[in-house]
Structures are given as structure tokens and as C-alpha cells.
């Protein structure tokens, strides 16, 4: 006899349709850009045209004289704390006496319509006295203009190997370039408080900063999760949030602001450019004996997350390899360049480009196969991290990653003469006989969740309703599919199919933490799993049942309580989930610094026209440690998307700086990979039980971006024979150097 209790649909391991997918496909999904309110004003921002200058005077009168202008606010109008910052509040809400980067906000205006607001912003007269800008990170280091230094020493510092390779590397400044620019709407509540709907990865930290700078009580500000067109790290920091709330409270009207693309490039933080110096020493068999690294990143004018990015760069400076002796010195420089902060991979990307180039060079010096060298030194479960000494106590299938990459078949050489398959694409400039193929490998290691002793947690609530259940969270869906996977987790835990995910504001639930560090599936997913599991146990115990499904509570194949009745009983459970505790570093950078790790490897195949320096990335295949794939389709989406951002950094994406000014702050000049630039991808998911994430899941968002850049660079080196110690690799680097 078939049991009458029905298993839920759309649980863990399936790939159900995204609940927001149809609305997005029909153009009906509300992004921050699409919001409006009755009586709404539009805001615009006045920005510094200098990398560094003293503000001599600001004349608002010409702007205020324009009809339809309702407010022009400067630093003097910030009611509370004059500064903000994700980790250290060092950045002025509006610059007061000095501007420290090109594009720094100086004043904000609100007007009847966007054009008037922009005209008013342009009419404000700011007199500057230009000052010498510090734009070189090494010079900042020498002048002790630093956000953080980190020193790691592990093992016997007198140990040396017999085979030595040294190299210097550079990583350009990459932009997250989410398609939706910064946007938001602030609505005054009529009682001195405000509701904020703005692009964000972390509404509770926005809330904290808005409350501090507005001088309000926490309950007077509600930050609402809002539709957001991508993030990739660009939405962790406050940008227009405090400005909008100031203008809304000042005018008593709803105020909306949308950054245009060029403004977006200055309005959010970027990936840190980095300068890396390495020395790898191995014994004659290829065993790594000692790694020395110097890591310099440019944090720009304000702190943002530079301390944490630098820490990641240093802790992951050796990658997924063992070494007996390690020395790493890191510098997070303070300059007058645009502030840098979080971007997918968060410090681990920059060092991976360097240490993987070093591993290839070491293999060359040893006469070894590059994968054999990596296999010999692979860091796995039970090993100690080369840098921090932390013992890896969750599954780390580095050897399986290498084995999988070896087993993947290589594609045939290009035989198609179709121009879109050749380097240069439809430019038709390449002759097939100038094209050389190259293959390169790289492995990367990334921490999951926040590190260095931070109290990292996520709260989620599961409520039963007359239709099923609702998961409430303030975690931000940036596109990655959290809205799908939290529902899957709750379905599997409760045993029911009808589960919705509701993104609720800061007044209704505690923090879910940031949608960053590949952490939400593990953290908010962990909270959801625990809340749903506890709720199921409580409901069953209360009704003396043994099963729950969409029909209600069962015992021995008898339906005890119908769902319609159960849903009226007001069941809910709220859980705050924490990952295993971590510690800060000791004076040698040692400690249990990280909560979990993921490893991934990439094999890139490229065709290079060595005469013209043009590159076609043909394939990037990957094996990635995912713990358990809760939603295989979403995991693949993260892998393919992350790889393409890595490809972008390898061959085209860079914010070009000149004396602190971004020269290419448009989509015409900042190149992003198109569908014609996208390589084919074969992705092998390596599933190993044992992580503390829900059902053993690990975060999957960042690992695809760590080593894909390095693999593409290695493949271009193999095809061109050039050293190529800098990314992005430009045509002139291949053809002219």
C-alpha cells in the first residue's frame, strides 16, 4: 500500500524554477530603479573633480535659484555622525574640508525631476585648492599611509629549498560592473523616521550607518531589501543611502536617486589593484619548502573593507598547498585613488594569479608536470594551512579537484574557420596560421563566511500559514538564487512543498549578515534549516504526530490535523545561526582564522594570435568543491558566471587610472565579456560530506572567480611563450613585449 504522506516537491537537490524568474522575464520585477512614491523628488550628487583638494568654498545659491529645487545639502547638514564605513567609519558622508578621491561626494540636491536635480548639482559652485595627490601604493607604504599591515611567519625561517623561482606580479583594478546601477528611494514616515529602499547586499549594516549619521534612534529607520541588478561586492558599502535619507527628512518628501553608469563607476568600491612579489623554494623532488611573499594592495582613500581584503590576500598567499616555512608581509595602502573594497574573491583572486604563475615556473624549473607539482603539494583535510597553521577540519578535496581536471578531455584544435571562433572575432583580422593554442591550469582556495574572530551570524524565521510556510529573512537576493535555495531547505526540513521566501526589513528580523563571502547558503541556509527542523518537531510533538506534509499532521497514515487548521495556530520559529568560532591572528599571523574553505581548479584553453596579441578563450573547465549541491542548476550558474568574471580580469577588464582619475568610467571603455567572449564550460561538482553548512553544503559563489583568471593567464603564457606577469593581459603585452 502506497503511503498517503506525500514527499515535498522542490526540496534540496532539485533545481526548481526561481520564484522571481517569471516576473524578471516579463519585465515586471521591481528593481530599486523602478520604485516610485507619490510626491517623489529626485536627487543628484555633486562630486569632486580632483583626486585631492581643499574645499575653499561652496556656493549653493545658483542651484537654489533654479525652479523646482527643494534642497541642497552639504557636510554641515549631516545631523549625526559625519562619517560612515563598513568596518571603520572614516569616510565623510559629504566631504567637509578636503576631498580625498576623484568622485567623492561633496553635496546632494533634491528637485522635482531628474534633469532639474542634475542641473542643480552642476550649478553648485565649489572652489577647490588642489593638493598633491598620493596615488602610488608603494609610496604610501613608505610614508606609512596604510590601513593595515599584516605579518605572517610560520615554521623555521632558516629553511631553504634547492630549487628557487622568484617573480613580481601585478593585478589591475577590476570593477564589479553590476548591470543595475546604484539606486534607491527614501520615504519619510511623517514622525521623524524614514523607510529606505536601496540597492544593498547587507541592509542591517546600511541601517546602522544611516542611524548613526542621521542621529536617529534605530527604530526610526527601516532598511528594506529591494530588487537589485547584481552586486558582486559593489553593494556592501553605503553610497547613496545616507544622502537619500537626509534629503527625505529635510524635504519631508520621498526622494529617489539613480546613479548613471559613469557615476556608478565612482560611486562604488572596486577590486583592489595589487603588486605581489614572490619567492618559492622547493626541494629536488618538488616539495615546497618555503614561500615568501610581499602583498601590496591599494585601498584608495577610505578604509571600506581593505583590512579584511588584505588579510585574505595574505592568508591565501600560498593557495591550496602545504609549505614548511612561510613568510608573508602585507600592506593595505591608503592613497588618493578611488576606494577599493569587496569584489567576488576578496583578496584571494589577486594572490592566486601570482602563486599559480609561481607554481608553473617552479614546475618548469623542476622539469615537472604542473599538475604533478600541485598534486605533490596539495593541501587537504587534516593538513595545516601553510600561512596560518590552521588545521583543515572540514573536507577539502584538493586531490580530487586535480584528478578531475586531469580526466577532462581536451578539445580538438579549432578547425572551424568561422570568424567568431577565432581571436578577434568578427574583426576578421586574424589569419588561422598565426593562431597558437595554449592550455593552462590553476587552483584556488577561498574561505567561506567571515573570518578573524568576527561574530558572523544570520537570523531566519519560519512561519506556518494557511497555505504552507514562509521563510522570513533580511538576506539579500542579488541574483545568485538565495530566494530559491532557502525555500528548498525549508521544504526538505518541513516535508511540505508550499514554501515562500519573504525578504523583510530591518525592523522585522535581526541581521542575516552580508550577501558576500560565499556565506548566505551556509549561514541563512543554516538558520532556515534549524528553524524549519525545530518547527516541525514542535508541531509534531504538540499534535502527537509522526509526519508532516502539505495536507497536515499525520500519525500512522491518519491525517490528524488538516493544514488549513494547522496554519491558523500561529506556529513560528526564529533561529540565529552561527558558524564555528574563529580567532584573530597572533603576532605571527597564526590562528584558527577561518570557518570553512572551498577549493576549485580551472583548466583554460585559449587560442592566441601572437602577432596581433588577440586572445580567444575557447574553454574553461572546472572542478569545484561544493560540499553538497543544494540546487545544481544554481551552482552551475554561479560557476559559469564566476568564471566569466575571472576571464574578464584575465584579458579585458580594468579601470585605467591616471593620477587618481578613472579614464574609462563607461561601458564603452570598460570592457565586459560578451556572449562572443564567453568560453564553453564543463563543470564537475565535487561533493563531500562534512561541512557545517545545511546538509553539508558549502558556499559556491566565489571559488569560480579565484583561479579562472590564473588559468587563462597560464594558457596564454603557454600559447605565447611570454612571461605575462600582469592582468589583464592586453594585446600589446603579447604582441609587443
Amino acid at each position: 500500500m502506497a503511503p498517503r504522506v506525500r514527499a515535498p516537491e522542490g526540496g534540496v537537490g532539485e533545481s526548481p524554477l526561481r520564484p522571481d524568474g517569471a516576473a524578471k522575464l516579463r519585465g515586471e520585477f521591481d528593481y530599486a530603479q523602478d520604485l516610485s512614491a507619490e510626491g517623489m523628488l529626485w536627487a543628484a550628487t555633486v562630486r569632486s573633480p580632483h583626486a585631492r583638494a581643499r574645499i575653499v568654498a561652496i556656493d549653493l545659491a545658483p542651484a537654489l535659484a533654479i525652479g523646482g529645487v527643494h534642497a541642497c545639502l552639504t557636510a554641515d547638514d549631516v545631523p549625526g555622525r559625519g562619517t560612515f564605513g563598513l568596518e571603520h567609519p572614516d569616510q565623510p558622508v559629504l566631504a567637509a574640508d578636503e576631498v580625498r578621491f576623484w568622485g567623492e561626494p561633496v553635496a546632494v540636491v533634491a528637485a522635482e525631476d531628474p534633469d532639474t536635480a542634475r542641473r542643480a548639482a552642476a550649478a553648485i559652485e565649489v572652489r577647490y585648492e588642489e593638493l598633491d595627490a598620493l596615488t602610488d601604493a608603494e609610496e604610501a607604504d613608505r610614508s606609512d599611509e596604510v590601513f593595515r599591515r599584516l605579518r605572517i611567519r610560520r615554521g623555521d625561517q632558516a629553511l631553504h629549498g634547492t630549487v628557487v623561482v622568484e617573480g613580481e606580479y601585478e593585478v589591475g583594478m577590476q570593477d564589479q560592473a553590476p548591470l543595475g546601477t546604484e539606486a534607491g528611494l527614501a520615504i519619510p514616515d511623517g514622525e521623524g523616521g524614514v523607510d529606505l529602499y536601496a540597492t544593498s547586499q547587507y541592509v542591517h549594516v546600511d541601517h546602522e550607518q544611516v542611524v548613526a549619521s542621521l542621529g536617529l534612534r534605530p527604530e526610526q529607520v527601516r532598511a528594506h531589501p529591494t530588487g537589485i541588478g547584481g552586486a558582486f561586492g559593489a553593494r556592501e558599502d553605503v553610497n547613496l543611502h545616507i544622502h537619500l535619507c537626509m534629503l527625505a527628512l529635510h524635504t519631508g518628501r520621498p526622494v529617489k536617486m539613480v546613479y548613471q553608469r559613469s557615476e556608478s563607476f565612482t560611486g562604488h568600491v572596486h577590486r583592489h589593484p595589487a603588486w605581489l612579489r614572490y619567492r618559492h623554494e622547493a626541494d629536488e623532488d618538488g616539495r615546497l619548502v618555503r614561500v615568501e611573499a610581499r602583498v601590496v594592495i591599494d585601498g584608495g582613500a577610505y578604509a571600506s573593507t581593505t583590512s579584511a581584503v588584505l588579510a585574505n590576500a595574505c592568508y591565501f598567499a600560498v593557495g591550496p598547498y602545504r609549505s614548511d616555512s612561510v613568510s608573508v608581509d602585507g600592506v593595505g595602502a591608503r592613497t588618493n585613488n578611488p576606494p577599493c573594497g569587496a569584489m567576488r574573491g576578496f583578496g584571494a583572486v589577486q594572490v592566486c594569479f601570482a602563486y599559480e604563475a609561481q607554481m608553473d615556473r617552479l614546475a618548469g624549473a623542476l622539469g615537472m608536470d604542473p599538475l604533478d607539482l600541485r598534486e605533490l603539494n596539495a593541501l587537504g583535510t587534516g593538513d595545516s594551512m601553510a600561512t596560518t597553521g590552521q588545521v583543515i577540519d572540514t573536507p577539502l578535496p584538493t586531490l580530487d579537484v586535480i584528478k578531475s581536471l586531469r580526466a577532462m578531455p581536451l578539445p580538438e584544435p579549432a578547425t572551424s574557420a568561422h570568424h567568431s571562433d577565432l581571436p578577434g572575432g568578427s574583426g576578421l583580422t586574424t589569419e588561422p596560421h598565426h593562431v597558437r593554442r595554449g592550455v593552462g591550469y590553476a587552483l584556488g582556495l577561498k574561505n567561506l563566511g567571515f573570518s578573524e574572530g568576527s561574530d558572523d551570524y544570520a537570523q531566519a524565521r519560519v512561519r506556518l500559514t494557511s497555505e504552507g510556510a514562509v521563510v522570513e529573512t533580511a538576506a539579500i537576493e542579488v541574483g545568485q538564487g538565495l530566494v530559491t535555495v532557502l525555500g528548498q531547505i525549508a521544504r526538505s526540513a518541513l516535508g511540505i512543498s508550499n514554501v515562500e521566501v519573504a525578504h523583510v526589513d530591518t525592523s522585522r528580523i535581526d541581521s542575516a549578515g552580508s550577501t558576500s563571502a560565499s556565506r548566505q547558503t551556509q549561514l541563512s541556509g543554516g538558520a532556515t534549516l534549524e528553524a524549519a527542523t525545530r518547527l516541525r518537531h514542535r508541531v509534531l510533538a504538540h499534535h502527537d504526530g509522526d509526519q508532516l506534509d502539505d495536507q497536515g499532521v499525520w500519525r500512522d497514515d491518519e491525517l490528524l490535523v488538516e493544514w488549513s487548521a494547522l496554519g491558523e495556530e500561529g506556529w513560528e520559529e526564529t533561529v540565529t545561526f552561527r558558524h564555528p568560532p574563529t580567532t584573530g591572528p597572533d603576532e605571527n599571523g597564526q590562528g584558527v582564522i577561518h570557518a570553512d574553505f572551498a577549493v576549485a581548479g580551472h583548466r583554460a584553453v585559449v587560442d592566441v594570435d601572437t602577432e596581433l596579441g588577440l586572445v580567444k578563450v575557447v574553454r574553461v573547465d572546472t572542478a569545484q568543491d561544493v560540499g553538497l549541491a543544494l540546487n545544481p542548476q544554481s551552482v552551475r550558474g554561479q560557476i559559469e558566471g564566476g568564471i566569466l568574471q575571472g576571464v574578464g580580469l584575465a584579458v579585458m577588464e580594468e579601470l585605467v587610472m591616471k593620477e587618481g582619475v578613472i579614464l574609462n568610467a563607461t561601458f564603452t571603455d570598460y570592457l565586459l565579456p560578451t556572449i562572443l567572449d564567453a568560453p564553453d564550460v564543463e563543470a564537475l561538482l565535487i561533493e563531500r560530506e562534512g561541512s557545517w553548512g545545511p546538509f553539508g553544503a558549502k558556499g559556491v559563489g566565489e571559488p569560480p572567480t579565484i583561479s579562472s583568471t590564473a588559468a587563462v593567464a597560464a594558457a596564454i603564457r603557454a600559447a605565447s611563450g611570454k612571461e605575462l606577469n600582469r592582468v589583464p593581459i592586453r594585446p600589446q603585452d603579447i604582441a609587443l613585449e
Binding site: L17, Q33, G180
Partner: protein, 154 residues
């Protein structure tokens, strides 16, 4: 000036008071928010519409120049209920993440299938070469469009 045009089969009139684009007209004057503004320069295709049979970036068309023309937006290709086969295929393939590029890709892909019901992989890529997606790496979009079965009714 007063601009009259047909949008998604309906005759509309809009007062163009500033040198705005067709995208501004669609979003701000007509409240058709499906077309997205991501670059204002015709580089990303998020604002793609079909103008008198031609796929264009509506951010590059002056609103005044759209007078007396016929425009189809993502709202116009979406059926009253459910999804167009292109939308359905993208939904199933996981081709939507943040979704900001999605309306433009839907318009461009529907335009492709209207011209070429059985496009090759290369033709799909060429048709979407003007649409930037920052999330998916395009793999799921290509898989989706390769699976599209356009029925006799379209």
C-alpha cells in the same frame, strides 16, 4: 513637443519636454519599466526594443525620432498569462539570475526567432552579442535558446 507612436500595439501620446531618449519616454512617461537603463550608451542591450521591425537600444533613439513609429517592448512580447516560449526556455534553463539584462535579452531573442526559427549556436551568439549579462556567463542563456521550440502560432 507631442510625440505620437504605437507601443505594443496601442496608440500613445507623450509630451516630450526635454531631449530624452525613447527609453526615457517608455520608462518615465509611459511607465513601461521592463526596459532597463544600465549604460546609457548602447553597449549593454538592457533597453532593447523593436522599433519598426529593427532591434535597437532604446537609449540611443531620441524620443522625438520615435514619432509615428511602432515599438515593441518586453511587455509587448510577454503573453497576457504565462510566458513566451523564449521566456519559458530561459526560465527552465536557469538563464535568469539578477534579471537586469533579462528583458533586453528576451526582446533580442524573440526578434531572432521571429526572423530565424531555427538559429544555429553561432547565430544565437551573434544575435545576442549586444546584450551584456554580468551574472550567468551566458551558458544557461545559450542552452535555453538552443532548446526553444517555436510553435506554429508564432
Amino acid at each position: 513637443m507631442i510625440v505620437e507612436l504605437t507601443v505594443n500595439g496601442e496608440q500613445v501620446t507623450a509630451r516630450v519636454t526635454h531631449p530624452g531618449s525613447l527609453l526615457d519616454l517608455l520608462r518615465d512617461d509611459l511607465g513601461l519599466l521592463g526596459s532597463k537603463n544600465a549604460c546609457e550608451q548602447g553597449e549593454c542591450g538592457s533597453c532593447s526594443v523593436v522599433l519598426d521591425g529593427e532591434l535597437v537600444c532604446s537609449c540611443l533613439v531620441m524620443a522625438a525620432d520615435a514619432a509615428n513609429s511602432s515599438v515593441t517592448t518586453v511587455e509587448g512580447v510577454s503573453p497576457e498569462d504565462g510566458l513566451h516560449p523564449v521566456q519559458e526556455a530561459m526560465h527552465r534553463a536557469g538563464a535568469v539570475q539578477c534579471g537586469f539584462c533579462t528583458p533586453g535579452i528576451v526582446v533580442a531573442a524573440v526578434d531572432l526567432f521571429a526572423r530565424n526559427p531555427h538559429p544555429s549556436g553561432t547565430e544565437i551568439k551573434e544575435a545576442l552579442a549586444g546584450n551584456i549579462c554580468r551574472c550567468t556567463g551566458y551558458g544557461a542563456i545559450i542552452r535555453a535558446l538552443e532548446a526553444v521550440e517555436i510553435g506554429a502560432e508564432t
